[in-house]
Symmetry: C2
């Protein structure tokens, strides 16, 4: 059902775009290279940075990359390797709504190196364009025994792999179809919030094509909801809300930001005053200092007061849910279906009833106008302030229970906070973040090492948008997977603050070796030769951490900074400890069911 709907959506978008383009056929026709056509499209989508690793094909080097470097507004960000580049494109797209991330790799070796980053973008619904520079159209036909191939003339292997983790693909085989193909996958990318794949033969890069289509900017086009069904759904929702006597709690999740309904949800909340909670993947979708916001709901792992408030509500209006294991406290929601309405990008569920093809984007404004009458009653519902005190502890060691609330006081409005899978993802959950901060994490896909690449992309996007500081939390075990990308940050003058939690690689993945690192030498070894572009610190106890966090020079350094935070290797954030227990229990239970 879902597949059909999304296919139809993209087909509708494509056809509309084709119609508009045809209407321009009679107008003047200028010529432009395929590379410049593509770059113009990306510029229209707000892309200012392109990630990737150059690759030769036939020693003719990275032809497309040269076009990028010549482009007036788009910058080529040369990455240290392809996986890091894909992670960066993902991080960029997450911090730049309505734009996309772009990663360029070479045939075979390059694209396969990046594929795990693309899969992560698929899983987490992040719009990323993967451009693979491939052999010439002639070579793709004659299939000689070229380097970067599997040596068996299967030139389509890499595309087949890409098809598994992208929602749309184009192989630019001739210039007649090239511009339509490019437009098709880009529309899919922005409309469906998933990665797409473009195979770009060396000889196509400089082919000339018409500029005509460029006059119509690409846009995210969704099919309209069937008005009769929509009206029916609205009535059903109102009925259920009424039955619940306005005792309604809104739960925002990942797809609110992924499917671009953040504004619609804010309007709904303002109009209704319904209390709102967030899942881990929805964190910061609603400002965490909003007075009707109650914190993070994560099933049995929730703070008790939050669990009580959410689960005792008579109705949960869930928006953009993505109920993955870690996002739901290992599937421990205690909310009966009869107490639930779910709004999704492509369907609505009211209790047990499914209403396919009713998308939330168009539904929400109408729902808001119907629900505003409940405001008076809803305003009476109590929301406990989401807060976290810094505990007073006897030990001067930096404990997990102390560290997270303490760094919480360091954050500022508009900061971008990136957390790595494991300790950091769970540690940050209980910490209320200031208004307009953006929380970036990969809770569903959970690829370790992702956060370093992602921070690079996030920092470039944050610079574009005039946001605040970019702050990364990562463990020493994860850092080693993608550590070289720190040098790319330095090279581009980016100034993230990196909290490296050195707990000897223990937590989430036991024995992720990689302990013995001179962490504070990293930045000077990788990029900052004179030591003028970076600062590194080690903090081993609370006074050292306090002093650093309170130092205005640290808070506003304007250079890349790495703080090695030494913590006990058996210490674990509250939420992670509970998740681990529930996870074991869940695995045992599901084994028994068979």
């Amino acid at each position: 059902m879902q597949a059909t709907l999304t296919d139809l959506q993209s087909e509708v978008a494509r056809l509309r775009h084709e119609l508009q383009s045809l209407a321009l056929e009679h107008k003047g026709d200028e010529q432009i290279t395929v590379a410049d056509y593509l770059l113009t499209r990306l510029e229209q989508l707000g892309v200012s940075s392109i990630f990737g690793v150059p690759g030769d094909f036939n020693m003719r080097m990275s032809i497309f990359k040269d076009y990028v470097e010549d482009h007036p507004t788009i910058k080529w960000i040369g990455n240290c390797n392809e996986l890091n580049a894909a992670y960066a494109a993902d991080g960029y797209a997450r911090v730049k709504p309505h734009s996309i991330g772009v990663v360029v790799t070479t045939f075979g070796v390059g694209e396969l190196s990046a594929i795990n980053g693309i899969a992560g973008a698929f899983s987490e619904m992040v719009p990323v364009l993967h451009i693979a520079g491939v052999p010439s159209t002639t070579q793709l036909k004659t299939r000689p025994l070229l380097h970067h191939t599997l040596g068996d003339a299967r030139f389509d292997v890499f595309t087949k792999a890409a098809e598994q983790v992208t929602i749309s693909q184009a192989m630019l085989a001739n210039k007649v179809q090239a511009t339509a193909d490019i437009d098709r996958i880009l529309i899919d990318c922005v409309s469906r919030a998933r990665p797409v794949y473009l195979s770009l033969p060396t000889d196509m890069v400089s082919e000339k094509v018409s500029t005509k289509r460029l006059k119509i900017p690409l846009s995210r086009i969704l099919p309209p909801n069937n008005p009769d069904v929509e009206e029916f759904v609205l009535d059903e929702i109102i009925k259920v809300v009424r039955e619940a006597e306005s005792n309604v709690v809104v739960l925002v999740d990942a797809c609110v930001s992924r499917h671009d309904v953040q504004d619609e949800v804010k309007d709904l909340l303002a109009a209704t005053h319904f209390p709102v909670y967030s899942t881990p993947m929805g964190k910061t979708t609603i400002d965490e200092d909003y007075d009707r916001y109650g914190g993070i709901y994560i099933g049995s792992i929730s703070e008790p007061v939050i669990k009580e408030r959410v689960e005792s509500a008579k109705l949960i209006l869930s928006i953009g849910a993505l109920k993955s294991d870690f996002n739901t406290g290992m599937f421990t929601y205690r909310i009966p279906t009869t107490h639930t309405i779910e709004l999704h990008s492509d369907c609505v569920l009211v209790r047990h009833a499914h209403f396919p093809n009713i998308g939330m984007k168009q539904l929400l404004p109408k729902l808001t106008s119907r629900l505003k009458d409940f405001r008076c009653q809803a305003s009476e519902l109590v929301v406990s302030k989401f807060k976290l005190e810094v505990p007073v502890e006897e030990t001067s060691d930096i404990t997990q229970s102390y560290f997270w609330p303490r760094v919480g006081t360091f954050f500022r409005k508009k900061d971008v906070i990136v957390t790595e899978t494991g300790t950091s993802n769970f540690g940050i959950l209980d910490v209320p973040l200031p208004e307009q901060t953006i929380f970036v994490s990969q809770i569903l896909y959970g690829s370790i090492g992702w956060a370093v690449g992602s921070t690079l992309g996030a920092a470039l996007a944050a610079r574009d948008r005039g946001l605040g500081r970019v702050i990364l939390f990562i463990g020493d075990g994860s850092m080693q997977l993608t550590v070289q990308e720190l040098s790319t940050m330095t090279r581009h003058g980016l100034t993230p603050i990196i909290f490296l939690i050195n707990n000897s690689g223990y937590n989430i993945e036991r024995n992720l070796h990689g302990m013995n690192r001179k962490w504070t030498s990293l930045l000077t070894t990788l990029g900052d030769l004179n030591g003028t572009l970076s600062r590194s610190y080690t903090v081993r106890n609370k006074p050292e951490l306090e002093k650093l966090l309170d130092d205005p020079q640290f808070a506003n350094a304007g250079k890349i900074q790495l703080v090695e935070v030494v913590m006990d290797k058996y210490d674990t954030p509250r939420a992670l400890k509970m998740a681990a227990e529930l996870s074991t229990k869940y695995a045992e239970q599901s084994a028994k069911q068979f």
Copy 2:
């Protein structure tokens, strides 16, 4: 045709093995875990190191890895990331004939991160086992929304991707079939010299299975040649050799070592005294100080005297050819098919005639005994000594034309020499290597960054085999892709010598950024905290390089060493310069043909 043959080969091997196993059915039956069964098989294959990155599944951590760590003879080599681990498994297998490389990753995120390394092993015919730790058999059926998935219940996506780059796969779904499945893919791995894939659910790891099959060791079993056809082929070959009046040159290529006919070829050469040349991918298959060895033939890129000797022969007996672009000087062999006999693992070509299903492994001994009568005549064929003088140059800069012959004098018997794609692969070609050295490179697949991971694996294999020093040549551009793996070398007490050619990332891939590195701080930042386990040097001119190479302490340091060799960024080895020119020409020509 090839697919059918290899399929048949593996089926024959499997059936034989099954028959032998059945014969043991009545014997005593001990129980062992699946993990230990697998490890025992790997031990039987001579595996002493297993590469990988641990991953949880459902926080139950790396169950299989724990078994590896408990194993008395197999060591767990924790890598910094999965791609590096796959590269290491590849390097290990290359230096340890008759064994295989093994890499362990976790579901989804881990296996996709490694896939480019597996693809490289496929391309270059290296036997590698990729073990992916996946969710439990129950979860694979119920497909809950687990982390590390694409969020759409497609749990088979990663296996589908693996199928593209491995020749055999097994998903251990039940314990009844588990041991037969393990045996099947391992036999395929060793018989067909390609990677295989094992999907290992968390709950299968500790399941108990019978030890019975373990009594029959796995082996590389090839189907016998049809005796009539083989006899016919031998007659044909003799006829052609006679016509050529013994003016025969043997050309050895990659598949001689990959398909394990090194000894058979040496016997042939000893018996016939035919002159022998090697392709780049065959380098060191025949000792380069052998008196009938003439050097590297690479089409138009060959040294003129080599080109002349090979192309003027009346007959080329090509053994194990793999005619890829870089391996053939961009397809510039000037040898008519009527002057060619090709022996392959699964067929023989005599001039224009193809003889499928005649494998060289069984054919070669018979051919040797038929050809030894030509020895007298063949001994008269002149072979110019393969040598390379260190040029006397005015500049004190370290030039490419000086560097390669100069390091050539530094090499010793039994050294293992690893070169990275690009400058190093081409620079080393003209350098004669001492007897019993092993040359390791990835000329067909050419994935940059491969050599660092590969060096780790090669160094472990070399230690097992009591070989000499492991010496890596790599450019600064490539080093950054996989640099973190240096720390794994230090952690395991490995002592490679790394020549890092710092030409500001220029060559093979222009603008592979990554210049600004404090290269000599790398080893102390990554692993050698006290500076006692490593030494680093920068050499900027000839006297500095000479002094270092002549220093016995450097030559026998017994610790990991990194030498940053500063070279001009526009300087290029002779062979690379010619390859680049030919490559452009080739691309233009093939474009014209259409």
